[in-house]
């Protein structure tokens, strides 16, 4: 029988839908909805495994990721070297684990920079409106009109491949989307009565934004943050692939792939494994992001039947 159902917007009705008793609070509800997304849950497990591997693996590995051994170049995968060795005789698995630390850290930090900037810009624009909004949004437009990769390349050449500069660069070029999101969110939220009340009470603007508006806009921020990590990881790997990001000998998944470009004819494993690491991580993060979107956005359709 065809029934068109929509996920409810009040906690009580939603609970009734899911067959759960009592008032649960919307975070609990979100958690339950997240858990219903099987791929997201599986991805959390995978990501956790990856993080553990990346944190603990380097300590356990008997190999030094930077020590060269010119007699062991291009060894194919074997029991001694599970993923083989690269062009300087270094164990690939160890390098991937160390590289994971670098790539993941950059991903998280770059996302943090982007979110901070985005919330700041978008929040100010959305809350104050008027001239502030116009100016800030013009600025966002200008930033968006620059071809992103071009800027990335030019700045990377200028500032070099330091860890911090890569983080700041990636963050500084990806906050625009978040700012638009937050601006839209704040624009609608500021009309609400609790904001009016706070203003009447004389609460300063920044406090209103921080304590009242921000928590309510958390849902899109969380989703954007999660997906932002994935974007940042890919962006860092692209930069390093072009030779502008993290410099050797520090391994990062991107610069390992750069080396692999010339090696892949004689040693294809040097190209396969680092890319696989990026791929698995980013897929997992994307699924988690999808699950979070399902969980946190009450308007989002999560159930509908066919016909």
């Amino acid at each position: 029988m065809a029934t068109w159902t929509r996920a409810s917007t009040t906690p009580e009705a939603g609970l009734a839908e899911l067959g759960l008793p009592g008032y649960a609070g919307h975070w609990r509800l979100a958690r339950d909805r997240f858990l219903a997304h099987r791929l997201a849950v599986a991805s959390v497990a995978v990501l956790l495994l990856l993080v553990i591997l990346v944190l603990v693996g380097p300590i356990l590995s008997p190999y030094d990721p930077e020590h060269t051994n010119l007699n062991l170049r291009y060894e194919s995968p074997s029991p001694a070297h599970i993923m083989g060795t690269d062009s300087l005789g270094r164990d690939l698995l160890t390098r991937i684990m160390f590289g994971g630390r670098v790539s993941l850290t950059i991903g998280v930090l770059a996302m943090a920079v982007a979110i901070t900037l985005g919330v700041l810009m978008g929040g100010l624009a959305g809350f104050y409106g008027g001239v502030t909004d116009a100016v800030l949004m013009r600025f966002v437009d200008m930033m968006l009109s620059f071809p992103r990769l071009f800027l990335l390349i030019l700045f990377s050449v200028f500032f070099g491949g330091r860890f911090l500069t890569v983080v700041l660069l990636l963050g500084a070029l990806s906050w625009m989307g978040v700012s638009r999101l937050i601006r839209a969110s704040f624009l609608s939220l500021r009309e609400r009565q609790f904001v009016e009340a706070a203003r009447a009470l004389g609460v300063p603007g920044w406090l209103i934004m921080l304590r009242h508006l921000l928590p309510n806009a958390m849902a899109p921020i969380i989703v954007a943050a999660t997906l932002g990590i994935a974007t940042a990881i890919i962006a860092e790997s692209t930069l390093s692939f072009l030779g502008l990001g993290i410099q050797p000998p520090t391994p990062s998944w991107g610069n390992m792939l750069k080396d692999a470009q010339t090696d892949m004819v004689i040693a294809p494993w040097t190209a396969v494994f680092p890319g696989l690491a990026i791929f698995v991580t980013v897929v997992a993060i994307n699924f988690i992001g999808d699950g979070l979107r399902d969980a946190l956005d009450p308007q989002h359709v999560i159930r509908s039947a066919r016909r």
Binding site: E66, T68, L70, R73, G243, Q247, P248, P249, D259, I266
Partner: protein, 565 residues
């Protein structure tokens, strides 16, 4: 039986002769075949084919088939005449010094009967025109030497007398095909107001065995036989097509498949792929290019003050130790597949190459001892410290160069073992080789160790003077002119350089350069890593080519031929 023995000896002799003849860098007994087309794969497209604008090797590679100079450099590193009848020397009266010894005249006699590819006669007016074109055109890459010429007289159509306003030691290397300085056709170019806007820069022609008839961007360049070429019966080939391929990998694939007959400039890393292939011949020819580690003797700054020594590299013992801690041979064997030779100075081949000047071999134990004795004691993390200064250095080379990055890794490892910390700080080549006004760190002295390759000219005068003389340290006072990036200053070396540049006796100059290089090596301002080879590959049915480290492999295309596959 005596007759059998004689036969046997005769055969052995023949085999011996054949082996000798075939090993000298060309295919063995193959008789030239007239006619045919040869396709050469080039993975980089030339920006221009006008040699005086060229900055890329591939430009002169192509233009050399069409344009020739008065002289050229042989594989042995000597000069030989091309359009000139003979190389001017004091002995044959071609070189005359003035009575006060301050000026000189060089006389060139052209071979009679030379014609341009369009049938016009070649005359000494063309030589004068070439000089004028170089001096008038603001876009030419280099005027070195030509700016020392005050005038050129042409007493008759076959004689040109070049008047120099000073003693220019490197006079013999001017108007040389190998330097990309050919004679230009006056009747074609004198009517052009701006040569860079003419067709000649894309489709030049001259006295060479071919003329460039087609330049299709990102596709191919065609060089057709020159019917007016001076050697009868040559060139053997009807045409050469330089095919533009997107990458070295594609070029190699095409060579293996037989779609092209020759390939320019392989990477060492591609050699294992070709190892088993019997229908392809690989030639690795040592060239003048020397890859080196360049130490900054001054404290890094923007700009650096040459009077303030580098906190770590200012100590000669540290530099000496670093020379000893560099495993040159191992780098060559493992990373370059043995296709390079250990370099001992900046002049690796040619008449001026000092035979007895060397740098010390890899000896890390001795390096450690040196540093211990010099007061650099290992700290808690193994890195040496002296007077509160940590032996920590940054090495800079061009990004995107795999072999250089690999060398950096090895150096990091090796130098860490003697207690010196090394960190990579690579930049794109446009930054490394950039100009003073654009804040390039090498010019400004804002680096510790640079790694790159540089080739001196066949005449080392310019290189040695620019790199080792005190005056040529880039400073604000001289607007950053000069190539003495080491910030090395030694009065006696200066004197020797001055001397070598002011006389024309080649043997005397050679001795002077040997002394200079010895002093430079003793100061350990540079680690001469290796002498890179130019690696080119040909299919078995291509013949006539001859290796020449001083020139492109197209230097003798008039002798090339293709036999049936």
């Amino acid at each position: 039986m005596p007759r059998m023995r004689a036969l046997f000896i005769a055969m052995a002799a023949l085999v011996g002769l054949g082996a000798c003849g075939g090993g000298a860098g060309g295919p063995a007994s193959q008789t030239p075949v007239k006619g045919g087309t040869l396709t050469v794969a080039v993975w980089q497209e030339p920006n221009t084919l006008y040699p005086y604008y060229a900055t890329q090797t591939v430009s002169t590679l192509v233009s050399e088939t069409a344009l020739e100079g008065l002289v050229q450099v042989t594989p042995e590193g000597n000069y030989q005449p091309v359009l000139a009848k003979e190389v001017p020397t004091t002995a044959n009266g071609g070189l005359k010094l003035s009575s006060d010894g301050k000026r000189m005249d060089v006389t060139y006699h052209l071979r009679p009967g030379l014609k341009w590819a369009d049938g016009q006669n070649v005359s000494s007016d063309d030589i004068r025109f070439t000089w004028q074109a170089i001096m008038k055109d603001p876009k030419v890459t280099s005027r070195g030497g030509y700016d020392q010429m005050t005038s050129i007289d042409t007493p008759d159509p076959l004689t040109a007398v070049v008047h120099y306003g000073s003693i220019y030691a490197a006079y013999a290397s001017r108007f040389s095909s190998s330097a990309g300085q050919p004679v230009l056709p006056r009747h074609v170019l004198e009517k052009e107001a701006d040569i860079s806007k003419s067709d000649f820069v894309r489709m030049p022609f001259g006295t060479g065995p071919f003329r460039i008839t087609e330049f299709k961007s990102a596709d191919h360049i065609t060089a057709e036989r020159n019917p007016n070429y001076r050697e009868a019966g040559k060139p053997y080939l009807d045409r050469i097509i330089f095919r533009s391929v997107p990458s070295r990998e594609v070029a190699l694939a095409q060579l293996k498949a037989g779609e092209v007959g020759a390939m320019w400039n392989l990477l060492e890393a591609q050699l294992p792929e070709l190892g088993k292939q019997s229908d392809i011949k690989v030639h690795a020819v040592p060239g003048p290019s020397v890859e080196r580690l360049e130490f900054n003797l001054a404290k890094p700054g923007n700009p650096a003050d040459a009077a303030v020594p580098h906190p770590v590299l200012g100590d000669g013992n540290v530099r000496h130790a670093l020379v000893l801690a560099t495993p040159k041979k191992q780098l060559i064997d493992k990373l370059l597949f043995g296709k390079a030779t250990v370099a001992q100075s900046t002049i690796s081949i040619g008449w001026a190459a000092p035979r007895d000047v060397r740098q010390e071999d890899y000896d890390p134990t001795r390096a450690k001892r040196l540093l211990d004795q010099a007061g650099w004691a290992p700290g808690a993390d193994g890195i040496r410290v002296k007077n509160g200064v940590r032996a920590s250095l940054k090495i800079t080379t061009t990004t995107g160069d795999k072999i250089r990055e690999e060398i950096e890794q090895v150096l990091i490892d090796e130098w860490r073992q003697i207690g010196v910390a090394l960190e990579v700080s690579n930049v794109p080549s446009s930054v490394l080789f950039g100009s003073w006004s654009a804040n390039a760190p090498r010019k400004k002295g804002n680096f510790d160790v640079n790694m790159y390759a540089s080739s001196p000219d066949i005449d080392p005068h310019e290189t040695v003077a620019q790199r080792f003389a005190c005056d040529n340290i880039p400073r604000p006072e001289n607007s950053g002119a000069g190539f003495n990036y080491y910030r090395y200053c030694d009065a006696q070396t200066d004197q020797l350089i001055q001397q070598a540049g002011s006389i024309v006796d080649q043997d005397k100059r050679k001795q002077l350069y040997a002394t200079i290089m010895k002093r430079v090596n003793d100061a350990h301002i540079s680690v001469w890593l290796y002498n890179r080879s130019n690696i080119d590959a040909y299919r078995f049915n291509v013949g006539g080519y001859k290796d020449n480290g001083w020139d492109n492999f197209t230097w003798n295309t008039q002798d090339w031929f293709v036999t049936k596959k």
